[in-house]
């Protein structure tokens, strides 16, 4: 059979394709639907948080920071409850990372504050002596891209039925609604309202002035995102 295949390239290629596609079908398909169900208490990202997530991705924060807590005592002691599949239901893309040059950030919102992030992004070694993390000072001046975040919200609401403007069950039995604007202007207004709450806890005068003038620097967006990680 192999000799015959080696003289018939088309059937050879078909044979190779069948053999290599087998594993993907068996491994990926069976649990596909089940794995994408959110757990109670998991809500989609707000416009500002999503813009912050884009800043996180643009700077490849995931190259050094994981967002996956494994079920070991040493990890739950350090980072909090181990990760559950449904907590990632609104993560497109997933940001588990593959290397922990810095610590895990899955629940960083539980133990770091706006103030801490502001100082740390400006001068990491000043906050954590010995840190090898570079500073991200340009985030204090670059403007966050709210429009693209809004476009992504619209896309995922339309194609994947992500529940914006709908009640989402919380752990304490209450419900929460994550608002999405009906227009670009409304989306920007929602993001700005959220940005003002973050900026109120910050010290950098330029950032405060920018937000007061209706602009949203990247640092505000990424802090909103990091604070949402719980």
């Amino acid at each position: 059979m192999f000799h015959w295949l080696e003289k018939h390239p088309f059937f050879f290629a078909v044979g190779v394709f069948l053999v290599i596609s087998f594993a993907g079908l068996v491994e990926i398909l069976p649990n596909f639907a089940q794995q994408s169900r959110p757990v109670i208490g998991t809500a989609p990202y707000s416009t500002l948080e999503l813009a912050g997530r884009h800043v996180y991705i643009a700077n490849s924060c995931n190259a050094c920071h994981s967002q996956l807590i494994r079920p070991f005592k040493s990890e739950t002691d350090r980072y909090g409850h181990y990760s559950l599949s449904g907590e990632y239901a609104y993560d497109r893309p997933f940001l588990w990372g593959s290397k922990r040059t810095g610590p895990d950030l899955m629940r960083v919102g539980n133990y770091r504050t706006t103030d801490w992030h502001e100082n740390h992004m400006k001068d990491p070694a000043g906050v954590v002596p010995g840190s090898i993390m570079p500073a991200y000072r340009w985030m204090f001046t670059n403007a966050a891209d709210i429009d693209t975040a809004f476009a992504e919200q619209l896309t995922i609401a339309e194609f994947f039925s992500v529940p914006y403007n709908k009640p989402i069950p919380m752990k304490d039995g209450s419900t929460k609604i994550v608002k999405m604007g009906g227009s670009v202007a409304e989306a920007n207004a929602l993001a700005l309202a959220e940005a003002k709450l973050i900026a109120a806890d910050m010290k950098d005068q330029d950032v405060k002035d920018a937000v007061a003038n209706g602009e949203i620097p990247e640092i505000v967006a990424i802090i909103a995102y990091l604070n949402s990680l719980k």
Binding site: G24, Q35, I57, N59, K99, G102, P134, L154, A187
Partner: protein
């Protein structure tokens, strides 16, 4: 005329040889910069505060991985395909205007994609998925380039004179199919300009931005099915294609066992794809998948070692060639690193070992003993074998080649040994508890302890880069310095022609 060997046309092979070398230098240089940035963080500001955004570790990191995978390695795969393909199929590219056109189109479109990737990654336009960072416009261009490559490949196979496909061709076909399947499924994404607001506005925001079709755990599963098998079909399958051609040619020895090559090929095709889940052990992926991935990773030793042993036994009775020829040295040490790396990988895929190794520098070390020791050595050996035949000139300096071999071998060794120590040290410190059951170390303790190993790794990487520059210089001098031979050098061995 009938008894003369065919004159092959190496125009496209030469073009890809050039990008192999240039992108190799770029990718490895960025790698060395990254390595030293981890040891000496001030280097993040190497071009000053104003350009910090573009010289920062996190921006450069995907540029390094993509430049060495899709720049250096892929160019090397294409260069060898446009050389080996013609020779084992016994047909010249010059015989078909269409194939020649496709080959050149392949090259120029590839170059366009490379440039757009560099620009987009530096600008921070990325999907974040490792080795699949490109946004949808580039993804479409990649698919076009790949289809042209495949058309050229099957076109050449279609007009072949040698009816039976040589082992290398099996592996090239598998490379084409494997990457096509993986790339398509992993990059399923929806451009966000498709979203429409309630007031009817559409086309909002950045036109190039997209969102993944998969969420969370599913996204991770598909990504690592891709990521692991991009290693399979980029760093293993095509490199095995190369060694099956170049080692017998260079040594004049016939392949040790045809049956072993059959077993290894079909074994590798079947087993490799299952192992991707070993990147997700102890994650939220279902346990049965993790266990499957772990088991298949162990089984993967068989076909991997099958190929490597087949290569080493091809040298049976001719081991003096290893001492005499630096080119044979590259290939034999390459096969040895392949065995080493394909044993190390499965060990790391055992769940209890993975608990320590995952997220640490041990993984980085593993990747680099495979890529520097196996992929890099094999591609350089292939180009060294091709250069005299393609440029019709003797290799400029064999002693330079020998010096390069030893410098790079020391470089690789420093690299993986330092990363082993760093990885296991960090893995053990993360999990250490004191007598009261509290964590023994804060996270920063586990970072500062790595400084000496990061410095050693930087030196190892630098040595490898120096060796690569020696390689580039040697090829450049071969291209330009020596007098042209009348016709292509013919192989003196029984395997010749």
């Amino acid at each position: 005329m009938e008894n003369r060997p065919l004159e092959y046309d190496y125009t496209v092979a030469k073009m890809f040889m050039l990008t192999t070398i240039i992108l190799g230098i770029v990718g490895m240089l960025v790698g060395v910069i990254l390595a030293f940035q981890l040891a000496f963080p001030e280097l993040n500001l190497v071009l000053g505060e104003g350009l910090a955004e573009y010289t920062n570790f996190s921006r450069l990191r995907p540029l390094h991985t993509d430049a060495v995978i899709f720049g250096f390695t892929l160019s090397g795969i294409f260069a060898t395909w446009y050389y080996v393909g013609q020779r084992v199929l016994k047909v010249s590219m010059a015989e078909s205007k269409l194939l020649m056109f496709l080959g050149k189109l392949h090259f120029w479109l590839y170059l366009v994609v490379v440039v757009s990737v560099v620009v987009s990654l530096l600008a921070g336009v990325t999907t974040s998925k490792e080795y699949a960072e490109f946004e949808w416009p580039i993804d479409i261009a990649v698919v076009v380039v790949w289809v042209i490559f495949g058309m050229g490949m099957f076109g050449l196979i279609g007009i072949r004179r040698e009816k039976s496909l040589y082992i290398s061709i099996w592996y090239y076909i598998a490379t084409f199919l494997g990457i096509a399947m993986l790339y398509l499924f992993n990059n399923m994404e929806i451009p966000t300009i498709m979203g429409t607001a309630a007031d009817g506005t559409s086309g909002i925001g950045a036109w190039y931005h997209s969102v993944s079709m998969y969420a969370g755990t599913n996204d991770a599963l598909v990504q690592w099915w891709y990521g692991h098998n991009a290693v399979a079909f980029g760093f293993t399958v095509p490199i095995v294609a190369m060694i099956y051609y170049f080692l017998p040619k260079e040594s004049g020895q016939a392949i040790y066992s045809y049956k072993l090559s059959l077993l290894s090929f079909w074994g590798l095709m079947f087993v490799y794809l299952w192992a991707g889940g070993h990147h997700l052990l102890y994650s939220t992926v279902p346990d049965w998948m993790q266990t499957m991935a772990s088991i298949f990773s162990i089984i993967l030793i068989l076909p991997s070692w099958g190929s490597a042993i087949n290569m080493l036994l091809t040298m049976k009775g001719e081991w003096q060639q290893v001492a005499a020829s630096p080119l044979i040295k590259f290939m034999v040490l390459g096969s040895t690193f392949y065995m080493f790396s394909t044993l190390e990988g499965p060990i790391q895929a055992i769940k209890s070992v993975n608990a320590i190794a995952h997220f640490t520098d041990w993984i980085v070390g593993h990747v680099h003993d495979g890529t520097l020791g196996w992929v890099g050595f094999m591609i350089m050996a292939a180009l060294y074998h091709m250069a005299p035949r393609v440029f019709k000139r003797e290799i400029y300096s064999k002693s330079l080649m020998a010096a390069q071999f030893w410098i790079q071998t020391v470089g690789v060794t420093l690299y993986f040994t330092s990363m082993w120590i760093a990885g296991i040290t960090q893995g053990m410190m993360w999990r250490a508890h004191d007598e009261f059951g509290n964590l023994a170390y804060s996270f920063i303790d586990t970072v500062t302890v790595l400084h000496p190993y990061y410095a050693i790794r930087g030196v190892g990487g630098l040595l490898y880069l120096v060796g690569f520059l020696m390689f580039a210089y040697n090829i450049y001098k071969t291209m330009s310095a020596r007098p042209v031979e009348e016709s292509e050098l013919q192989n003196a061995s029984p395997m010749g022609a």
